[in-house]
Every structure is written in structure tokens, then in C-alpha cells.
Symmetry: C2
Subunit: 393 residues, 2 copies
């Protein structure tokens, strides 16, 4: 199912076979939180921006419109008319970050809906059942993501529980996939490595979950407040202990620079709301740094966001027009910006795959970072990310 | 330039040649108030919904981003990347309906911007200069649209002034079109018949403006509060006095039923914000009456908005999905609804043209109205229109 086509240092260029199509990695998944990419982007639009995999959020869909409804409509692929692989998260991260008043027990988490406050419970079995209802291509295991400040004792206790939860997830998925009326009986399960920034816990956990023969392995609990250096250190520490014959996924990361650094450390899958969220605010990625399209200097700019870019916005529209649309509050402005940013990310992954195949990843990475940093006259935060709340969906 | 291909009673099937392409009439123009159709619809999307002509608003574009800017960007076609004919209104209607504190004088109208309140003046020459800057295919003459309650004396005085303004518009456009650096030196001018609901004034004015050999003739000052019967009566009264070898345009109208009635009375061009505005609120047109997609009964409806409809929404998405998107506040929901409604209108015009060519317009009209009225279980206002404010842009 997972086949490495080329390596360049630790960077891997691979293919991952799924029931909904073959994924070329490294890949950036495009976030469609409630079964739609924010900014008026349709599944039809995805063809024009080179999207390979869509990511939807289990917690949001469970609350609205409800996974029961999506199950009855034939699953998420049919519901949102998407013929590409879809990965769903477990809902755990949103339970921990969005829900009000939560209580973690051995059986799972008690919490209140962030929409209407009603009492809910989610544990490993519930998460698997919801994701089975959704019928996603890849389901994520239900885990706890401890805070970046948690101490070693707490994290050890939490990781052990996450391991027990993972066993329950695996059992429940096996049971669900064996039921004939399950939407996707070939649904795959990715486990999630935790351990915060403690090397010993990360490594120990990686070893334990590696033995469970899952379809893929994520590194979770990062991009939650630690420094970039800490994040890269965790990857260097833990990725070598994850199975080499399975894909790896760095959850919720990140900036173009983060992705380049993580690819170098052996990561295959990425997701992040940066490109769509920043796009909706007119913050646009280019190879010469990020630009804020509502800046007055673009008022009369009759060039595309980036010369040579093949996205639907740049192929047809100018900065002056897109700026006007945003200033006038026209939805089309946001849509064009989101399309550009998603294409920028997706296209960067294509470049990354090409570079690894050619054994030129280091050169490519250096040049890409140089361009984005050196010419970024508008905002020095483009390297570290523009928006700090980018994991909330 | 204007060639009648078939007639069926007073209903005309014609072609109108413009510098931006040939228009098949009767035609419904799609409203792009500030150089974009509201609801995230791009000029690229227009191919999929059979749009022939786009209408933009002079008043709005003059205020933001400014017609100077659009002129420097090469005109409206280039600015919004539109390769179809564009009609611009004169700005007069918005000055009278949107602007605060206006004073009408012989030279034009003094008013305050509805955006920031600053003092402005617009007269026939200003309107022509702005529209010349925009470089639209068809410019509309600057007129006064008296209120539906105005008395005979006021309307007579107003119509006479509108006639004097029309002469000034024609002279100014001739001057502008002769200037080499004008965006569109082949810009056409449509005159506007006024006279409220007074037959004598309507007919007298129609005769006077018919003698001025303009490129087309609009019937204005309707859909401003009079009854539908009064509107149809005005059309029956005045259209026979307008040149038969020029296109006619009923401004700001209306519902599908209004359009069918007006086509029967010899009208070629239509525009209305109904389909896009109603779409943004989830009010959708179908051949069996209008539906409100957020209605609970569509929660599990896995059929398209209308079976057999070839619009981008119906070809791919279900009512249940579109309902979910609107309930979740996702832009994509609005966009799909707007695309459906615009296609419904545009496709109805195709059906109308076919029916006239076959000499079957009466049968077609009867069946279309019967379907829309008889099966309309959700809202009896679909015949007379859902939203009373549909001319404000």
C-alpha cells in the first residue's frame, strides 16, 4: 500500500494506495472542516488547484449536520460529492481545544458542545463509530493531546491512556469494517504518537504503537505552543522509531517553512488551515514572501498575485481587481485568495516531490526559503506563520 | 446590428451585434453590481450558467473603486476579466434610490454618497464620462425616475428634462467615442422612456426619443411600486411607439412571470437582482415553484434542487448538502444557490427563444406559469416576487 519511490537524505517520495485513489507523497491535505473548504470553494474547484486529499473534522460534522445524517446520505464522499481520498481527524483535538468544561476519564471525555452547550461524551469507540459513519478513507485514532506545559508525570500517564485508547480504536474499527452496511469497509486507521517534548516518552510510545501494525502513523501534540526548534527536535527523535514502510503524518502543520523542515525529517502527510484562513483575510503566499492584498500599493497593480502561477486566480485576475473585491466585501475576493493559497501549498508539494526524485531536495529547500524570506518586505512573520489560531478549524 | 429572426405575436426573437459579441434575445442580464456577481461567482463561472450579458452599476463603481481606476486598468472588461457584453446603468436610479439628500436641477443631481456622505454631483455628461471610463458595451442614458406617486404635472416636467438630458448624453457620448484613447470607441447608447403610468406622457416621450436614432430603447420607471397590471399596461401602450428595428429593454424586471409577460409584449432585454439575492438567502427557483432550501423537509433530501437541471449545483450536489452548507454559514452554500438561480433565469430565456422560433410561445408560457404556480406549495409570492427591494442592487 505504501511504496517509497525515492529518498533524499531522510526525505521520502512515496505513493500510498487507498480505496479512493493513489496519493503521491509528500502531500498537503486541504481542510474542509464542515464538508466544505471555507471561502466558497467547491469540490469541482479542487481539480484546478491540484488537491489530492481533503481533510474533514469529525467533531464539527458530528455536531452539524450529524454523522447519522451523512451515513444515511451514503457517507461523506457522496454527501459532499468528493471523489478524492478524505482523512477525518478523531474529534479529540477539537474536544480538547473547542469544547467547554471537559472531563477526561478512562472511558473517554465528557464535555459540552461549543455550539449549544449540550452535554456530550466521546471515547475511542464513539470516535470510530462517527468516522465509520462518515466513511472517510483514513480515520485517525482518538487520543489526548496534552498541553505544551504539561509535566513529565502527566504526559506519561496521558500517553499510556492514549495507548490503551488506540487498542480500543483498532478493535472497534475491525468490528465496524466487518459489518456489511458500513460505508467504507476498507477504512484505514492511523495511530498518533504523543509524548509532548519528552524524548523518552515519545520514543517509548513510538515503539509501542509501531508494533500494532496500523495503516499509518501521525506525530501529534505538536504546534500547540512549543518552539519550532522543539518541534523539529521531536521529529528528529521520533520519526526513526516509526515504521519505515508506513506513511507518517505531522498533524496541523504548518507554514511552508515548517513543511520543508518536516519533509526533510521524513514526514509524508500535512494539513493546516493557514492557506484558507489567511486567504480569507487577503494574506497571500508567494515565492517572494507573503503579501497583504488590501495594501494600498496594489490599488493599480494589473499583475497577478504571482507571475507565472497557474492557479485559477492568477491565470485570470489582477491584484487590483482582487483588492477591489476584498475592499468591497465581495465573496469572490475571498474565494480567489483561498484558491491561490491552496494552490501555492499544493504546488509546493509537487515541487518537493520532484526535488526528492531528482536528489535535489536540499537545493530546492534552500532556494524556496531564501525567496520567501529574503524578499518578504511586508511581514517578517511569514516564516513562522501569520495566524496563531490555525488549528481551530 | 439588430436583426429579428422570428416573431410570435408581439414576442420577438432577435440577434443584437455588439463589439463584444452577438447577443441572442430575449436575454436576461446577470447583475454584477460592483464588477462581480454577489455570492462568489467568477467570470469563469459564467460559462457554466449560460450568461450572455453582464450588468454593472455605474454609481457603485464610480464610488468604489472609482471609474478613473478602472479606466487606467483598461476598462471594465479587462478589470473584471469578462469577455462578454457588459451593460452599465446610468447611475441615475441609484442616485435617486440610495443617495442621501438629493437636489435635482437642470444641470443634474446634487447628492451625498451613501458610503461616506461626501458631496457629489452627477448629470448627463458626468454619467457618460463615467460609463466611457468603464468602457461598457452599452451605456444607459442619464434620466430621472419619478416616484410611483408623482402627479401628471411633475411627471411631465420631469420627462421633458429627461429628454433634454438624453440629447446631452448623446452629444457627450459622440464626443467621447471620437477620442482615440477612449476604452470602447464603439460604446452604444440606449435611451430610456419615462412617463410613469400616464399613457399620454409615455407615448409622447416614446415618439420624441424614437426620432433620436439611438442604439436601443429602455422602458424605465417601472417596478417602482405600481401594480403588475399597470406595468403590463404601460408596456402594451408604449412598446408599439418604440422603433421596431431596435432592441427594447425593461429595466429592473423581474420575476419569471413578469419576464414572460413582458416578452409577450415585445421586450428583448431584462435585468434583476432577484435570482442572485434570493439565492443568497436559499430561496430557489424551480419549474414547480420556489423552494426554501433551509426548510427542514430537505434535511435528508438526496436529490438535486431540480431533477434534470444542468446547472453546476444540480449536476453535482444534493439539497441535503446545500441545506447543510447554508445552515453552517458556509459561503459555498450561497454560491451554489446563486449559480442555480442565475442558470434558471438564463435557461428560461433559452427556452423562450426556442418557443418563439417554433411559434409556440403561448403554449410555453402557459405551461411554465402553470408549473411554477400550481405546484408552489411553499410560498405563494413566487409569482409576484420574493423580495420587494430587488432594484437596490
Amino acid at each position: 500500500m505504501y511504496k517509497i519511490l525515492a529518498k533524499d537524505g531522510s526525505a521520502k517520495r512515496a505513493e500510498f494506495e487507498t480505496v479512493h485513489g493513489r496519493i503521491q507523497t509528500p502531500v498537503f491535505m486541504n481542510v474542509a472542516t464542515v464538508a466544505a473548504i471555507k471561502g466558497g470553494v467547491s469540490t469541482e474547484d479542487l481539480e484546478g488547484i491540484d488537491t489530492q486529499v481533503v481533510l474533514s473534522n469529525t467533531y464539527h460534522l458530528h455536531l452539524r449536520p450529524g454523522d447519522d445524517l451523512i451515513y444515511r446520505m451514503g457517507g461523506l464522499h457522496k454527501f459532499m460529492s468528493c471523489n478524492k481520498p478524505i482523512l477525518t481527524d478523531s474529534g479529540g483535538f477539537q474536544v480538547f481545544s473547542l469544547a467547554k468544561t471537559r472531563k477526561i476519564k478512562e472511558e473517554g471525555v465528557y464535555f459540552h458542545s461549543h455550539i449549544d452547550g449540550h452535554k456530550l461524551f466521546m471515547g475511542p469507540e464513539e470516535s470510530m463509530r462517527i468516522q465509520s459513519h462518515l466513511g472517510s478513507t483514513i480515520a485517525m485514532a482518538f487520543d489526548e493531546c496534552p498541553s505544551a506545559n504539561a509535566d513529565h508525570d502527566y504526559v506519561k500517564m496521558s500517553v499510556d491512556r492514549t495507548t490503551r485508547w488506540l487498542r480500543r480504536c483498532k478493535d472497534e474499527m475491525a468490528r465496524l469494517n466487518a459489518i456489511p452496511y458500513t460505508v467504507n469497509q476498507k477504512q484505514m486507521l492511523f495511530g498518533i504518537n504523543q509524548g509532548a517534548i519528552f524524548d523518552d516518552l515519545r520514543i517509548e510510545h513510538a515503539k509501542v504503537i509501531s508494533d500494532m501494525d496500523l495503516d499509518g502513523y501521525a506525530v501529534g501534540g505538536l504546534a500547540v505552543g512549543e518552539t519550532h526548534e522543539e518541534m523539529y527536535h521531536v521529529l528528529e527523535t521520533v520519526v526513526p522509531y516509526l515504521p519505515q514502510d508506513k506513511p507518517t503524518y505531522l498533524m496541523g502543520v504548518g507554514t511552508p517553512a515548517n513543511i520543508l523542515e518536516a519533509v526533510e525529517r521524513g514526514i509524508d502527510f500535512f494539513d493546516c488551515v493557514y492557506p484558507s484562513r489567511n486567504g480569507r483575510h487577503g494574506h497571500l503566499y508567494t515565492n517572494r514572501g507573503h503579501i497583504n492584498i488590501v495594501n494600498a500599493k496594489y490599488e493599480m497593480d494589473d499583475t497577478p498575485i504571482e507571475e507565472g502561477c497557474q492557479c485559477p486566480a492568477c491565470r485570470r485576475y489582477t491584484k487590483a481587481y482582487i483588492r477591489h473585491l476584498l475592499k468591497a466585501g465581495e465573496m469572490l475576493g475571498m474565494r480567489l485568495c483561498v484558491l491561490h493559497n491552496l494552490y501555492f501549498y499544493n504546488h509546493m508539494m509537487t515541487e518537493i516531490r520532484d526535488a526528492i526524485e531528482k536528489g535535489e531536495f536540499q537545493t530546492y529547500k534552500k532556494n524556496k526559503l531564501y525567496g520567501m524570506l529574503e524578499f518578504d518586505s511586508e511581514n517578517s512573520t511569514s516564516y513562522t506563520g501569520i495566524d496563531k489560531n490555525w488549528r481551530k478549524g
